[in-house]
């Protein structure tokens, strides 16, 4: 029998562990971390470094400290305007998509409704339509001179002069809200649909026995049980809302120009300029300022963080209050 010292035993134990199953979980999750570091952590750090430089992507970057941050928050009026526009869109579209998605999901789950599958598909279809097609569609619908909506309103005698939907800032904003709602209501409906399917039928049957109306069942059973989904969607909508880019961009791009006319950056008087569009235009558009674009990206991140946390806290407080009630 040979003597084995504690160190040798420990070394062998580690070796055994490495050879044994202990190592495998780490190896299997390693690809995720490699990808995470390469595609998430590195760009985050690199973006921050760029934000401290004045760089057009071609010449040598020049370190400017926090000047880009100072510029976007105090000198360039369009960064804060783009955040304001984004908040405006969110203030309208988040309640609409959540409320309409919830109502539609409830209606389509009703046993009395026939052909619910067809309606669900119809409402969901806009979500899988490509943004460019949606942009062209809304351009055609709301064009000042030849838009279908103007033609119908004029034919019905409701207007004497065509309305410049895409040229007047407040109207253009409403069209963007409409576009977003039209596209995303179906997506939200699918979430609620999954949630409603998970609610036990017995709860509704018990409510029926107690003589509860459909409204009471909706407000007292459906909504409370869908609270986690609602919370998730509100938080995600705030994050998605700040990432809004495609819809307004395609609406004011020159897809339909036959003579190579340039699109209108940010819509009429930049009324539809969103935070991401601002970042895109600053970095890759007319300005070519990578540093300023990167600073705007961090600035936007800050707003996303603040608003997501605020929403989270507000919902926790509401949840606690309703629990006490």
């Amino acid at each position: 029998m040979s003597k084995i010292g504690p160190q040798t035993q420990g070394g062998k134990g580690l070796k055994r562990k490495l050879k044994g199953r202990m190592i495998w979980p780490y190896i299997f999750i390693l690809p995720f971390f490699i990808i995470y570091i390469a595609f998430n952590c590195y760009p985050l750090i690199y973006t921050f470094i760029i934000s401290l430089n004045d760089w057009d992507g071609f010449s040598q970057p020049v370190s400017v400290g926090l000047a880009n941050y100072k510029n976007i928050f105090t000198e360039d009026p369009y960064f804060l305007k783009s955040i304001g526009n984004t908040l405006f869109f969110m203030a309208f579209d988040i309640p609409i998509v959540i409320i309409c998605g919830l109502i539609l999901a409830s209606v389509f789950n009703s046993r009395k409704l026939k052909g619910a599958g067809f309606f669900r598909t119809a409402v969901f279809l806009p979500y899988i339509t490509i943004p460019v097609a949606i942009g062209v569609l809304f351009c055609l619908l709301f064009d000042w001179n030849s838009g279908t909506v103007n033609l119908i309103l004029a034919k019905l005698g409701l207007i004497e002069e065509h309305i410049n939907f895409l040229g007047v800032p407040r109207l253009a904003r409403m069209i963007v809200v409409m576009m977003i709602c039209w596209k995303y209501i179906g997506y939200h409906m699918i979430f609620f649909n999954a949630g409603i399917s998970g609610i036990s039928v017995e709860l509704y049957e018990a409510a029926d026995v107690d003589g509860a109306s459909a409204f009471v069942k909706f407000t007292r059973i459906t909504i409370p049980l869908l609270k986690p989904i609602i919370e998730y969607l509100v938080i995600m909508n705030i994050i998605w809302g700040f990432q809004l880019f495609d819809e307004p961009k395609v609406l004011f791009s020159s897809w339909t120009s036959s003579s190579g006319g340039s699109g209108l950056m940010g819509g009429p008087l930049k009324s539809c300029l969103t935070a991401i569009w601002y970042i895109y235009d600053t970095s890759f558009g007319s300005q070519m300022r990578y540093g300023k674009g990167a600073a705007a990206a961090y600035g936007t991140f800050l707003f996303i963080l603040i608003f997501s946390l605020a929403a989270f806290v507000v919902m926790k407080i509401i949840g606690r209050k309703s629990g006490e009630d």
């Binding site: 690809p31 992507g57 970057p61 001179n145 030849s146 120009s257 036959s258 940010g266 070519m288």
Partner: protein
């Protein structure tokens, strides 16, 4: 036991393949990548400065890499080039969307990737592109491009702010004023281009006549469909630089904006946006008389939008002369691999032989001066313009007094600001001359704060 080992080995193998395939995506083409780190453009530029011009003569065929948006036509042109010159080269054509070419250039450089041998540029972004210190000066050794080959107006459109000729023009971009003959005859009393040109010696007369047309038609007929057209023509006629030595000069902007607002208030321009479908549809209607028209407009704009308009169109010299609109040019990056072969090709495009060949194979009107001295070559007929020789106007008359504004680093910014102000002036009639000018000025200083006041 054996089974367990095999399972473990299989898992390890799958994981390795997965990880390697993912990492391969991050690798890029290390074999051809310049030896620089990201962001170290100084090193890139140094490498560019010291790299030699490659020699295309002899040996295996060189492959020229070219970006662009005319794949089909370029293939035909390249085949003609090889046939005429016997060049031992191949072409790798990478299709890039016209409006994305600048972003592609920017991201390619900042990512440290290889640039192609030939980069195209459309006039709207050309000034910004040419100002980058990455292009070969084609007027210097070893190229020594002879600028007398091309029309004189094209030289400032292909030179950067340091005066270096860093691009070679492709097509002739002179533009005039197209009009619908039936409307001209009915409301202006003639459809003859010379009579119409004589009728409108300046924009003041044009506006007065426009008001008469408006009154005679009960407000139904407009001189132009869009204010953008007015901007396009008047701004194109004005050679006064907008930014000079880092200072914003509003002189030409004020002139153009002044006319745009006068025309809008006089009601002689419709409110259609150039980017809308209504604008395209306006070519076929009987409500708008005049449109700006470059050499490419009949094929790419008028014919598709007015498919039944054969013989319905005329072309005249606009009040105060012709202007330049659009047009492409090619640049050769300093660190391109096949610079000489690339130059041989793009300079052939601008040669007399190249210009004639391109007319034959794709019907393009290219920039070499010589062929246009021949009245037969300069003649250009288009079914939409009936019997009128529009080539005589675009390639001969227009050259007599055309003046262009030199391209500038700020061209992309200026284009963006023009779009915003034009839309605002078009949509809101309460915006007067003063507020439109202030809007333009403020927007320029916001987007380019380094500009001096």
């Amino acid at each position: 036991m054996k089974y367990k080992k095999a399972k473990r080995l299989l898992s390890l193998g799958v994981m390795t393949v997965l990880a390697l395939s993912l990492l391969a995506g991050c690798g890029g083409d290390s074999g051809t990548k310049p030896e620089t780190t990201e962001g170290s453009t100084e090193e890139v530029q140094d490498a560019q400065k010291t790299s030699d011009v490659s020699d295309s003569a002899g040996g295996d065929a060189e492959t020229i890499t070219m970006w662009g948006w005319n794949a089909g036509d370029i293939e035909k042109i390249f085949a003609a080039y090889k046939e005429k010159t016997g060049a031992n080269v191949e072409l790798e054509y990478v299709t890039v969307q016209q409006e994305e070419s600048f972003q592609k250039l920017q991201t390619t450089i900042s990512a440290g990737l290889d640039l192609p041998d030939i980069v195209p540029s459309e006039v709207g972004q050309r000034g910004t592109m040419l100002s980058l210190d990455i292009w070969e000066d084609l007027s210097q050794d070893p190229y020594n491009f002879d600028t007398s080959w091309i029309f004189p107006y094209q030289v400032p459109l292909c030179s950067n702010e340091r005066g270096e000729l860093v691009a070679l023009p492709w097509d002739v971009s002179t533009a005039a004023l197209a009009y619908k003959r039936p409307l001209a005859l009915e409301y202006l009393g003639t459809e003859d281009p010379d009579e119409l040109s004589a009728m409108f010696p300046d924009w003041e007369t044009f506006m007065e006549k426009g008001i008469e047309v408006k009154e005679a038609s009960g407000g139904k007929i407009f001189m132009f469909a869009s204010l953008t057209n007015v901007k396009q023509i008047m701004d194109g006629q004005n050679p006064q630089p907008i930014v000079q030595d880092g200072t914003l000069d509003m002189t030409s902007i004020k002139e153009t904006l002044g006319w745009m607002i006068k025309f809008r208030d006089a009601g002689i321009v419709d409110n259609i946006l150039e980017t809308s479908t209504a604008y395209s549809a306006s070519y076929a209607d009987d409500l708008h008389i005049f449109y700006p028209c470059a050499g490419w407009s009949p094929t790419y704009v008028i014919q598709p939008n007015d498919p039944e308009g054969q013989g319905k169109w005329g072309l005249m010299v606009p009040p105060q002369g012709c202007f330049s609109w659009g047009g492409s040019a090619f640049m050769i990056p300093r660190d391109a691999k096949n610079k000489k072969a690339a130059y041989d090709f793009v300079s052939w495009l601008d040669s007399e032989e190249g210009t004639r060949s391109q007319r034959d194979v794709v019907g393009y009107n290219i920039s070499n001066v010589e062929p246009y001295k021949d009245a037969e070559f300069a003649a250009l007929y288009d079914d939409w313009f009936g019997e009128q020789n529009i080539g005589e106007l675009l390639f001969q008359k227009a050259m007599e007094n055309i003046e262009v504004r030199p391209v500038s680093t700020y061209d992309a910014t200026i284009t963006e600001v023009w779009s915003m102000v034009t839309e605002a002036v078009n949509s809101d009639k309460s915006i007067d001359f003063e507020s439109a000018c202030s809007m333009f000025e403020e927007e320029m200083y916001t987007l380019a704060p380094e500009l001096r006041k």
